[in-house]
């Protein structure tokens, strides 16, 4: 069979997917770009061309810079905690002990729990009047009076980060565990003979095997954390006093709550650009790590 026919046939089989992707992703993206240069409202008139006004307005607003800081803080803190606890949990699960299979199965639970259910669960735990966290901390005499964990700007973001970490560290742990199980036994044994302590062993023997998969997990988790919407919308809607408002929440408010489709679109594209730059920077890093690990 000739190569050109093979290629044509492959394209024909790709065609349905590509057509649907153009319809539900390509066209909306192009349309968002067009909208971002207009003052269109969500419903009604098409809007007038306003050049780059939306962009300059959005980038110079204090809302944007504050939201960017909140989003970065949420992403960095939650991903860092998830990676550290995830790797520690994987190192534990890689040991031999009774109940290991059971514990590994448990790790599936937070991952499988729908994000909205997770958010609702933690919202109930943090409840200022009846929540389990207040109940436990008062019964342990760690606090005197019930507090509104999600209602105070000082604690709301930290409370959200904890809820996000609880759901997502098991995924990191499972990925790291799969990588750990690929470390050949004789290499760890040889390092023991050579007198490597536990930290040297982790740094020089185990970490090279973990680096590649962990980088991928890091990239995916960071991108997701940067786009975060669901958990924050359900738990705080960006409040109190906008202290937990992330970029996606800000776009939602601009485009759908205030119905300003034009400026909402420009903001959405700024977010897209930030995520893309982040992903490209990471991709370069992944290539470097993959090169040096092997």
């Amino acid at each position: 069979m000739s190569g050109t026919w093979m290629t044509t046939r492959a394209w024909l089989l790709m065609l349905p997917l590509l057509m649907v992707m153009v319809a539900v992703i390509g066209w909306p993206l192009v349309d968002t770009v067009g909208l971002s240069f207009t003052d269109a409202k969500l419903v009604g008139t098409a809007g007038n061309f306003v050049g780059i006004d939306n962009y300059t307005k959005m980038l110079s607003s204090s809302n944007f810079s504050r939201t960017l800081v909140t989003t970065t803080w949420f992403a960095v803190a939650s991903v860092a905690i998830e990676m550290v606890i995830g790797v520690l949990a994987a190192l534990l699960l890689n040991q031999e002990f009774r109940g290991r299979t059971f514990l590994r199965a448990l790790m599936i639970l937070p991952w499988a729990l729908p994000t909205v259910v997770n958010a609702t669960l933690w919202r109930l735990i943090y409840n200022p009047e009846y929540g389990a966290l207040n109940g436990a901390l008062t019964q342990l005499h760690l606090i005197d009076a019930y507090r509104s964990w999600l209602g105070e700007p000082g604690t709301a973001l930290a409370a959200l980060i904890i809820a996000d970490c609880w759901k997502n560290f098991p995924l990191v742990a499972l990925i790291a565990l799969a990588a750990l199980q690929a470390v050949p036994r004789d290499i760890t044994a040889a390092s023991l003979v050579d007198g490597a302590g536990p930290f040297a062993r982790f740094r020089f023997v185990i970490l090279p095997y973990l680096a590649g998969p962990l980088m991928v997990a890091l990239v995916l988790r960071t991108i997701e954390a940067f786009k975060v919407f669901d958990i924050i919308w359900v738990m705080t809607r960006g409040g109190p006093a906008n202290s937990t408002r992330t970029l996606s929440i800000l776009v939602y408010q601009e485009a759908f709550s205030f119905q300003r489709a034009g400026s909402g679109a420009s903001l959405a594209l700024i977010v897209t650009l930030l995520v893309t730059v982040l992903a490209l920077a990471y991709a370069a890093l992944v290539k470097k790590t993959a090169g040096s690990a092997t």
Binding site: A10, P28, Q95, L109, V117, W166, A179, T188, A261
Partner: protein
């Protein structure tokens, strides 16, 4: 082999117990809330175990009596099932031919890379035109419209999974069948697809989990019982003026049950699916 002192063993078991508690406590509490009488949940000091288990909320939510909390909940349950089912079938119909094509003809692989790169796009970058488009087509607040939108998430992911699945099936088997005179579609139907059945099943389950979990588009594009999905119904309950926290917890348990069961039954396949991306890059 590694030398293991008694202290090290104790340390390992202590860590394992801590990890188990961290994972289980919040989930157990969700269930306890769902079966605790409202008075116990409001008690100070908080009562951690109900004096008498009360399963009436499950009955209440699963009843279909007109205008009850149950009617709204069961409607959203049905909508979630419909949307997840339609979107999953559609995603697989697109993913199987595309995944096979890329697997056997690597020179067109860049087109799949482009499709997968759309993962980086935040849904907010597509939301406004999708809203206007659905509104124009009369598909706002419609399960079919929502299922089409879900293809933005499901189709790239399932295609990528199917492609890795086909990669693992040697093309020599297909070539042998073709030499014996089978046509392309006959070969795919008789030889390749049966071999790929486990991957198709894994992809389908992943797709169902993704659709079941989706919240953002459902929040934007649905407005009442005709199309609202479970995630939106639960967010409504959590954000509304419901005085019985146990009822919210019960809705959470019911919504979590299908994905958690899928997760536990399919552990092995799910973990290899999750990690194939992680390990292979």
């Amino acid at each position: 082999m590694e030398r293991k002192s008694a202290a090290f063993t104790v340390f390992i078991y202590a860590c394992a117990a801590l990890l188990a508690v961290v994972i289980l406590a919040p989930i157990a509490w969700l269930f306890v809330m769902s079966i605790s009488p409202a008075a116990d949940l409001a008690a100070k000091p908080l009562r951690w175990w109900p004096q008498a288990a009360d399963f009436s909320r499950y009955q209440q939510l699963l009843s279909t009596a007109e205008n009850s909390a149950g009617a709204a909940f069961t409607a959203s349950l049905r909508n979630s099932l419909e949307v997840a089912g339609m979107a999953t079938v559609a995603a697989l119909l697109l993913a199987i031919p595309a995944g096979w094509a890329v697997s056997r003809t690597p020179s067109i692989g860049w087109s799949l890379s482009m499709v997968i790169a759309t993962y980086m796009l935040p849904p907010v970058a597509l939301a406004v035109p999708l809203y206007m488009g659905l509104s124009y087509l009369g598909l706002l607040n419609n399960v079919f419209g929502l299922a089409v939108v879900y293809l933005t998430i499901l189709a790239p992911f399932t295609t990528w999974l199917m492609k890795s699945g086909f990669d693992a099936i040697p093309r020599e088997i297909e070539a042998a069948a073709m030499i014996d005179g089978a046509g392309l579609f006959q070969t795919l139907r008789i030889i390749t697809l049966p071999l790929a059945a486990p991957v198709v099943a894994t992809s389908a389950l992943f797709a169902v989990l993704l659709a079941w979990d989706e919240f953002f588009y459902a929040l934007l594009f649905t407005s009442d019982q005709r199309a609202k999905t479970l995630t939106v119904a639960i967010a409504d309950l959590a954000g509304g003026r419901v005085s019985d926290y146990g009822l919210i917890a019960t809705a959470g348990v019911l919504a979590a049950l299908p994905p958690v069961l899928i997760g536990l039954v399919m552990q092995r396949a799910l973990i290899s699916g999750l990690t194939s991306g992680g390990v292979k890059g």
